[in-house]
């Protein structure tokens, strides 16, 4: 009885994507009728500075956030694996950030990072560092957003790593210790290779989420200042829902979806190569 699954997949995945692909081949403003333009929208995309700016920001946000989350998450996960006593309580606390709705995270970030009365600048001032503009500075806004996402999702990676580490056979680590391998060498040559499939799984889950990251950016900056945080998702939303240019917005989203599928495929390959 696979047909319910097939019907579901067709209705919920194939049709929406197919319709988006159909729209991307048309010039279509809200309220009008679609006009077929072939690959015209895609060619327009290639010459659109805002698209390339959005592409650069999407990739930058992805690389910085994923890197930070994997490093901090792995460190936290391994720390927890060693400390059995604190595990239960800390695990509960760590779940809290990613249980929060994005709207709450965004509003919290706005209040904490407000350049005028936010606690972030107050803390910096207390140790003699001049205040920062955080979300209002085009040079730091994307890094600030990456930091917000890392705060929310590094614990998620940590929990995955913790689960993966606890499932590993203990005798391998004991053998490495008997052979005199130091902490770093044990991590580098034993823990990391054994954890690699777990880390790839965490990376896939976070990749999909990061590449379609929208809500917190929309709430905190709306894509600004200037276009400094207008990632492809924000750009597509603005083109579609603010400027009513649905055909072009669909083109951006189909391109972004291709990027997401490509990334997942790369990780799927990577996962089979690190399997043990």
């Amino acid at each position: 009885m696979v047909w319910p699954a097939l019907v579901f997949a067709a209705g919920m995945i194939v049709f929406p994507f197919g319709y988006a692909a159909f729209l991307s081949l048309h010039e279509f403003m809200f309220g009008g009728e679609p006009r077929f333009v072939g690959l015209g929208n895609y060619l327009g995309l290639m010459g659109d500075a805002q698209f390339w700016n959005g592409f650069r920001l999407t990739v930058l946000l992805y690389v910085v956030s994923l890197g930070l989350q994997l490093v901090i998450g792995t460190w936290l996960g391994l720390l927890l694996a060693r400390n059995e006593a604190a595990r239960g309580l800390v695990r509960t606390v760590m779940v809290s950030p990613f249980m929060l709705p994005p709207v709450v995270v965004g509003m919290m970030a706005i209040v904490i990072l407000d350049p005028g009365f936010g606690v972030a600048n107050w803390l910096l001032g207390a140790i003699g560092i001049p205040p920062r503009q955080w979300l209002a500075d085009p040079d730091t806004v994307i890094l600030t957003i990456a930091a917000i996402d890392t705060w929310q999702w590094a614990p998620f990676v940590a929990l995955i790593v913790l689960g993966g580490r606890l499932a590993l056979p203990q005798d391998v680590f004991e053998a490495a210790a008997i052979d005199g391998a130091s902490g770093w060498r044990r991590f580098r040559h034993v823990t990391l290779p054994l954890l690699a499939p777990t880390l790839v799984t965490a990376a896939v889950l976070r990749s999909v989420d990061l590449l379609r990251f929208f809500d917190v950016i929309y709430i905190t900056t709306g894509g600004g200042p200037g276009y400094a945080s207008t990632t492809l998702n924000i750009l597509a939303y603005k083109r579609g829902f603010e400027f009513f240019d649905i055909g072009y917005a669909a083109t951006i989203m189909v391109t972004l979806s291709t990027l997401v599928f490509g990334t997942v495929l790369v990780f799927a390959r990577l996962r089979s190569s690190v399997r043990w």
């Binding site: 709306g222 200037g226 649905i246």
Partner: protein, 436 residues
């Protein structure tokens, strides 16, 4: 015989009266219907949520109200309308922004036949009571597509007490504002009173043109050239852009580029800024903060010194019926009630400027404005913007939100110090030309 005569007489009278009764408007004609309303987060909508029980009591029509912030409101509205959904019966719409596009899409129900039908429209509705300009704004292609619910535009608010403490006189010309900001910046008494920035205004890209337009026009500039092409690069327009950007950059609060009216009003209400150019609509919200009713002044943005010109922005939201609604007649009943003299008189207390002349000039509104000098000043400013205002604050195009976004981006580049006002304006003109 006598009884037969009486019965015949009554039957004859009833027969004669029947056509007249059928032609009369009946508020309870749609008793039991449910209407879905999609509204923008606005003082009018908030007040309406409180008052709508009166409508149900009067008509028997129940309502489901959804209120969203402006961007989310438009996203939901356009999605539903594009899908030709009958889920929305009544919605708010800013005709000056989206009227042409929505009308072309056929999303507005034509209200003209309903207005002209005595069975559909209350005898005392008095459509002519709305100002001619407001009626015109709600009429597109000869069709009535909505009823006006308010009148609004940005006004200049300033802290009279801080000006007095710092020995600064009330700005009479636009050029006095940067000078006053400079003095306030160096005034210890203002800082001691809690002021952290002399000035605040909208810095979010798409929100900027609404607050900046009068800076441009009062200095003699315009958004377009005489031939209709984009004209931000014209010298007087550049001066207006420069003044707006400089005020934000040198005298505005930190993080101003992420600010729209919510942050600006919060800063003004809390006493952290001394001046702003913000919507007349927010008057009631500002007055809720302690002391602001006593220490604030409000008026139309002063004219340019050399031009003597004052061209404020004036817009008005309207209430429309969806062309896809299955309850158009009931929806029209709601529109009549919501824009009636009785309801508008009550809305005054919520700070909603009434579009009906009879209410604006009526005893209730006068009594309310006479209670506080600042209310009187606010009402006077509204009269002035209604008389001299302009509702177009972007280049000539149907792609209005996109045009405003590009203009706002030019201002942001100046505030960020990434371009001079002239360079940013000229670069924006090239982009804006694509939208024509």
């Amino acid at each position: 015989m006598r009884r037969t005569f009486l019965a015949t007489a009554i039957a004859a009278a009833a027969f004669a009266a029947a056509p007249a009764a059928a032609q009369q408007f009946d508020w309870r004609r749609h008793d039991g219907t449910t209407l879905n309303l999609l509204l923008n987060n606005h003082p009018w909508s908030q007040a309406m949520r409180e008052m709508v029980a009166d409508f149900t009591a009067k008509t028997g029509i129940r309502t489901r109200i959804e209120i969203f912030n402006e961007e989310q409101f438009r996203a939901r509205l356009t999605t539903l309308m594009q899908a030709r959904s009958a889920d929305i019966d009544v919605f708010m719409s800013l005709k000056i922004r989206e009227g042409a596009v929505f009308h072309r899409a056929g999303w507005y129900a034509d209200l003209t036949p309903l207005l002209n039908d005595p069975r559909e429209t209350a005898a005392d509705f008095n459509f002519d009571d709305f100002g001619a300009a407001l009626r015109e704004a709600e009429t597109i292609g000869g069709q009535l597509v909505g009823l006006p619910i308010n009148l609004e535009g940005p006004l200049f608010y300033w802290r009279k007490d801080l000006f007095e403490r710092c020995g600064i006189t009330e700005p009479r010309f636009l050029e006095d504002i940067p000078a006053a900001a400079e003095k306030l910046k160096g005034c210890e008494a203002a800082r001691a009173a809690g002021m952290t920035s002399p000035w605040a205004a909208r810095g979010l890209r798409g929100a900027i043109p609404y607050a900046m337009s009068a800076f441009i026009r009062n200095l003699g500039g315009e958004f377009w050239k005489p031939d209709g092409s984009p004209g931000l690069c014209q010298p007087d327009t550049v001066r207006g852009i420069e003044m707006y950007a400089t005020l934000l950059k040198d005298y505005g609060p930190p993080g101003a580029l992420n600010h729209t009216f919510t942050q600006v009003i919060e800063l003004l209400g809390q006493g952290r800024v001394a001046m702003t150019h913000e919507s007349s609509n927010e008057f009631a919200n500002i007055m809720r903060f302690p002391n602001r009713a006593n220490d604030l002044g409000v008026k139309v943005l002063p004219p340019g010194r050399e031009t003597g010109r004052s061209v404020p922005v004036v817009i008005g939201w309207g209430l429309s019926v969806s062309a896809h609604s299955r309850n158009k007649s009931a929806a029209w009943t709601f529109l009549q009630w919501a824009t009636s003299t009785e309801v508008q008189t009550k809305l005054v207390a919520a700070g909603v400027a009434p579009p009906r002349s009879s209410v604006f000039n009526g005893p209730a509104f006068r009594a309310w404005t006479d209670e506080l000098p600042i209310r009187r000043a606010w009402a006077d400013a509204l009269v002035e913007i209604a008389r001299t205002g302009n509702g177009v604050y972007q280049t000539k195009t149907d792609r209005i939100p996109e045009s405003r976004d590009l203009i706002g981006n030019a201002v942001q580049q100046v505030v960020l110090g990434r371009a001079s006002a002239r360079d940013a304006a000229c670069a924006a003109d090239a982009e804006l030309a694509r939208l024509q």
